[in-house]
Amino acid sequence: MTLQRSPDAFSADAGKTPTFEQSAKVSLADTQLRRNLGKATQTIRAKRAAAVEEMPDWERLREAGRALKERVTRHLDEYLLRLEESVTRAGGHVHWARDAEESNRIIAGIAKAHDAEEVVKVKSIATDETKLNEYLEGEGITAHETDLAELIIQLAGETSSHILVPAIHKNRAEIRELFKEKLGARGLSDDPSDLTNAARLYLREKFLKAKVGISGANFAVAETGTVCVVESEGNGRMCTTLPPVLVTLMGIEKVIPAWRDYEVFMQLLPRSSTAERMNPYTSFWTGVSRESGDGPNEFHLVLLDNGRTGVLADERGRQALSCIRCSACLNVCPVYERTGGHAYNSVYPGPIGAILTPQLVGIGKPGPDSLPYASSLCGACYEVCPVKINIPEVLIHLRGRVTRHKQDGGGLKGRLDPENAAMKTMARVFSDRKLYEGAQKAARVGQWPLARDGAIGRLPGRLAGWTESRDLKAIPKQTFREWWKARNGSPENGSA
């Protein structure tokens, strides 16, 4: 497995992020990766389909989930203020972070105030987005990831390639070797339960020692201030209950209106993500533990903007903020299945990443701008999304934004771009019947140096990508309209 370490879309040098095409080339060449991915995504895909099949009211649940999330996006300001009020009432502290930098400063400040040199973390993509671990390291604080998969990639010094199964690109044998080396686990087999035990032994000690736990959040209820983490391994429960201080970093879009809304999301999420009727561990907490002494006695909720309020301004694009990070869209995506997550160069890979990343970091950077094009628009993602995000529609919409940005902001270079020039010419041709018919004839004449036996084996220039693996059909002698005119004695129905 080759290690990919290009700057991701959320890093400081995001402008240098490679394009999807460039990174996909690397991933596609890795046959082991493709085998691992193909196997994993196909298994999880079939399981999800079966879990959803059981639900007679699935489509109505999806619609309810979509509607709830849409309401949140529309009244985000109100719900967030209500959430702040509820959390504060329950004894928690609420912090507002404009961007990654501010969020990191707040969290590091809390850790330092408690002299914590080590913190334990339960999986949180928001902290990957803000690069919290690196920031803490710079402040002399070690962050231990406690999800099995997150631990694996942290030990390997890699980055996550899937929202939910971050180490989907690694197989058991690779993991055993890693644990032997990094955890000093001797005589280890590659049996999953053995691997899990080795990790468990290592992590238990960390849980008991840490003064500060850090988590993300799947949801937070505005009405009650109750935060929720959904997980499978129990490490989330430990992170949020064992350390005396708990810090939760949450993107502002994760707020939901009322406690009863869990009814909808807790049916949608587990089946969509792990294909389970219910996930093993769901932790809810409201503020701090008071009399019981169970759970943290200090709780901080950090509300992260980092580009989200900007996304709200785009009425079509903002449905991306409804995402509940189930990863169903990744698992069904034929592009993701072939390239894996690293090709997206973002903490949010797959179809959702392709619409979320460029919006969060802003249009105008070559890497993220290439993401909306990383799709054949097959629509498999939209079909499974539990909150009905119309991903293909947003992909197309963002392609429009990227193109307009280039055309309008790119100066002479933008206008002279060969693709732009070709598209403009073609648009002109298509808007005039005479030009169109002339172009059909010209194309037929123009192809003769390329065509052999009714097929073209090699195209010049930027179109060569097509003919690397496919022949192109040559243009036949008579267009359809020529045939029609000959047959019908050229009746001119319709205006020219």
């Binding site: 996909a24 596609l28 054949s376 628009l377 939209y382 403009k424 693996s469």
Partner: protein
């Protein structure tokens, strides 16, 4: 019924035989087919590649040309998908309420061939004869955008002499995706190679679909591998008769 044929620029230029077959099937069923010569391109390539402002005049043109007809039929799921699903978005981008209204009036009258026959007209047997091993690939846009469901299969099952073989993982995208096939040629090829493997596994002589763009991609791959499997548009199978064979 008086039906306007929307041939699509791609079929007009590259696959006239599909257009002729569509006319043949519709006329055989007693429809009066008209071909408005003013039609050019629906604007899908421009719109989906991001050149959306450039697509707006093409949207206007399409609406103008086809608005007078009771039904518009095209042998292409993806171009019909453009008209039905994406024209409203184009009209919104143009910030043109009138265009939006016209688009919404027109959209329900535009059909992909199989859905026109099966869903609109309730016909499955079109009197075709095609004595070959055939496998059917449901294209993504007809399947997920237009939701044509089993309409093409129902038509194929009613063809006399045909031996229809099921395609494994049929619903998987073939990797075409318009300009995706050029912009992300490597990924597209990786998707194609799995599709080709499944097609070859059926041992069919012919792979059919409702969209020549996907078929050109699949057929181009088969031809490069000298696999000996042909790609044939659904309309051509439906047009085929005993006399022609």
């Amino acid at each position: 019924m008086r039906v306007a044929l929307f041939i699509t620029c791609f079929n007009d230029t590259f696959f006239p035989e599909t257009g002729r077959a569509t006319v043949e099937v519709l006329e055989r069923l007693g429809h009066e087919v008209e071909f408005p010569l003013a039609q050019t391109c629906c604007g899908q390539m421009h719109f989906n590649t991001g050149y959306q402002r450039e697509a707006i005049p093409l949207v206007r043109r399409f609406v103008e040309v086809f608005a007078p007809y009771e039904a518009v039929v095209a042998p292409s799921g993806s171009c019909v998908g453009m008209v039905r699903e994406l024209y409203p978005m184009a009209a919104e981008l143009a910030n043109d309420k009138r265009l939006l209204y016209e688009v919404e009036e027109l959209a329900p009258k535009v059909f992909e061939l199989s859905e026109f026959l099966v869903k609109r007209m309730g016909v499955t047997d079109v009197g075709a004869y095609y004595p070959h091993h055939v496998t059917y690939h449901p294209t993504c846009h007809s399947l997920r955008m237009l939701k044509v469901g089993d309409a093409p299969l129902e038509l194929l099952r009613a063809v006399r002499g045909i031996d229809l073989v099921e395609l494994r993982e049929a619903r998987e995208c073939c990797g075409f995706g318009g300009t995706f096939a050029v912009k992300n040629a490597d990924t597209s090829t990786a998707m194609l190679s799995d599709k080709l493997r499944h097609v070859l596994d059926t041992e069919a002589e012919v792979c059919t679909a409702g969209d020549n763009s996907c078929l050109m991609h699949i057929g181009g791959g088969l031809k490069r591998q000298r696999a000996g499997v042909r790609t044939v548009h659904l309309a051509e199978i439906l047009a085929s008769t005993e006399e022609a064979n």
